[in-house]
């Protein structure tokens, strides 16, 4: 057998990144009944119940029908949940079954590992978001006012929650640990993130408190991109998104560098 010739690191990292990203994509498409169908069904029920049945009795909000108002938030909910869950379950599975060692023994940098898993999470998040959006178009018309804002915000949000999922997976020691954050943190902050209501509808105290919820900024920026209305400044939303991504990325990278839960 011929002996290997050392390759330039840039080339190694490039192929390694695509190997991880492809593996992650294969994973969530292989189990599409678990990854793509459930959010589609859940969000269809939201559209039916909140948008169609209850929403038809609610007047317009900021000049937009209630159905059109909640669509961006519901798409965002699906993206947040899916991108987070994908990285959490995938990386935790790799850790528990020890096939994460395939990467650790290979010349793969921590940045490449992180970006590869984030790419998988973002891919699933955006795919689920697209499915939900297509379902939403069966119920209402969406003008897509600022498409660049729409795409960039949904992408950055998926990146952020994929990173969050990665951090969760690094710390998780058992399956219960990967369910705690989605159940007790993600679900409350998403539901209270202005998906179903405008912040203007809240009493001053709760409105002020809502501004501490980062999901409010993501949902509103996304809504601005789609239907042109928002309760928060878009620039601030971008700032919070980018800052949080930077903090999460650095934290996740440090966990990998220190081998937390991975190296003895």
């Amino acid at each position: 057998m011929n002996q290997v010739v050392l390759k330039p690191l840039r080339q190694v990292f490039w192929h390694a990144f695509w190997a991880i990203a492809a593996k992650e994509t294969r994973r969530y498409t292989r189990i599409w009944i678990q990854t793509l169908v459930p959010p589609a069904i859940t969000m269809t029920l939201y559209f039916l119940i909140f948008g169609h049945l209850i929403g038809s009795r609610i007047p317009q909000i900021d000049g937009v029908s209630y159905m059109a108002f909640i669509v961006p938030g519901i798409v965002m909910m699906a993206v947040i949940t899916s991108s987070y869950a994908n990285v959490t379950s995938s990386f935790f599975g790799a850790k528990m079954n020890r096939y994460v060692e395939e990467m650790l023994v290979a010349p793969v940098s921590n940045n490449v590992i992180l970006l590869g898993f984030v790419c998988g999470g973002v891919g699933r998040g955006l795919l689920v978001g697209l499915v939900v959006l297509l379902i939403a178009l069966c119920f209402t018309h969406l003008p897509m006012t600022h498409w660049l804002v729409t795409l960039s915000v949904i992408f950055l949000t998926a990146v952020l929650f994929a990173l969050g999922g990665f951090i969760n997976a690094v710390y998780a020691r058992k399956f219960d640990d990967i369910a705690i954050v989605p159940n007790f943190v993600l679900t409350p902050i998403t539901y209270l993130g202005g998906v179903f209501y405008s912040l203007h509808m809240l009493p001053p105290f709760w409105r002020g408190l809502s501004h501490l919820n980062p999901v409010v900024y993501m949902v509103n920026a996304f809504r601005y991109g789609m239907v042109g209305v928002a309760d928060v400044p878009i620039g601030l939303a971008y700032g919070i998104l980018l800052l949080t991504i930077a903090v999460f990325y650095f934290y996740a990278w440090r966990l990998l560098r220190d081998g937390v839960g991975l190296r003895g």
Binding site: A16, A19, I20, Y99, E101, L104, V105, P107, R263, G264
Partner: protein
């Protein structure tokens, strides 16, 4: 300190785990290029920690690792490109297809699908996995899973291959097949480090051996010279006719296990011709014989101080 001649050099390697357990107490070891090297030791001796450090799965507390002259702490990516690791435990994604596992692993080492195509085909064929390429790994038999681990460790054509118990749980036929494959691989220039609990495997395959115990190297020599240290060997003789009692057999230590089975201890200064002459003189006909214990096993148990109770009553094997 850095020696490019050696495939692997460990210099004063230490490891103390967070719980205070001292796994390695400053071991130093050199493995020549092209060597087939056995790293032996009882459970908990420090073998896995040593392999883990070389494979970057365990962080050393101190010391230095070099692979083909490259320092692991200074050039980890370069070292990893030259290193293949076959772990003891099955650790691939059971839901991935066999082919995907190999392509993905090759990708981790910077190989494109085009570059990998021939390598993957070669490994699948030579390791008998070609017709399983589209199967999920979980559907493979135990032997096939073990071969898939080996294929995965070789997919980037490493110069140094570390095998941790590669034949554990394999039946005799598979084990023999794998031995032949590893010997051929070694002949083609790949340096191999093997840990195994099957000491006959180490004796058959490896030319150099190091024994580690309680985090220290207690023996490190050529297999031949190490085995020459055995003062004696115990042979089990199966007799054609039953024997009621046995008088002494010259200077040979003997023990009648049952009327048809005799154990004889043959010292380094004795030979089997003399033994058989004495047996023939007493009209004792031997049907067949075998070593009571693998020679390396005898040496190993002596060195690490285990299983001495199991030695024959006639004479202790000594180094």
């Amino acid at each position: 300190m850095i020696d490019p001649v050696h495939a692997l050099s460990l210099h004063q390697l230490t490891k103390t785990y967070a719980n205070g357990k001292v796994a390695l107490k400053g071991i130093s070891l050199h493995v020549e290029q092209g060597e087939f090297f056995a790293l032996l030791g009882p459970n908990g001796a420090g073998k896995s920690t040593t392999i883990g450090i070389v494979a970057s799965l365990v962080r050393p507390s101190g010391g230095l690792v070099t692979v083909f002259g490259e320092r692991l702490d200074q050039n980890p990516y370069g070292v990893k490109q030259m290193l293949g690791v076959v772990p003891q435990e099955i650790n691939f994604n059971p839901f991935e297809k066999v082919e995907h596992i190999l392509y993905t692993q090759g990708g981790y080492f910077g190989l494109s699908r085009l570059e990998l195509r021939d390598i993957v085909e070669h490994l699948l064929h030579i390791l008998g996995l070609a017709d399983k390429r589209q199967q999920q790994a979980k559907a493979l038999s135990g032997g096939m899973k073990r071969r898939l681990l080996i294929a995965r460790g070789l997919v980037h054509r490493p110069r140094l291959l570390i095998l941790d118990e590669p034949t554990a749980g394999l039946d005799v036929e598979l084990r023999l097949g794998l031995w032949g494959f590893l010997e051929e691989l070694n002949r083609s220039g790949t340096t191999i480090i093997l840990t195994t609990h099957y000491l006959e495997e180490a004796e058959r395959l490896c030319r150099q051996v190091a024994i580690i115990d309680h985090g220290e190297i207690i023996a490190n020599a050529a297999m031949r010279s190490l085995l020459d240290q055995l003062d004696s060997e115990v042979f089990v003789l199966y007799l054609c006719e039953p024997l009621a009692v046995l008088s002494s057999l010259g200077d040979f230590g003997v023990k009648l296990v049952d009327p048809r089975t005799l154990e004889v201890c043959v010292g380094r200064d004795q030979n089997l011709n003399d033994l058989f002459a004495l047996l023939a003189a007493r009209g004792i006909v031997v049907h067949s014989m075998r070593n009571k214990q693998n020679r390396l096993e005898a040496l190993f148990t002596r060195l690490v101080g285990i299983g001495e109770q199991a030695q024959p009553a006639t004479r202790q094997v000594a180094v």
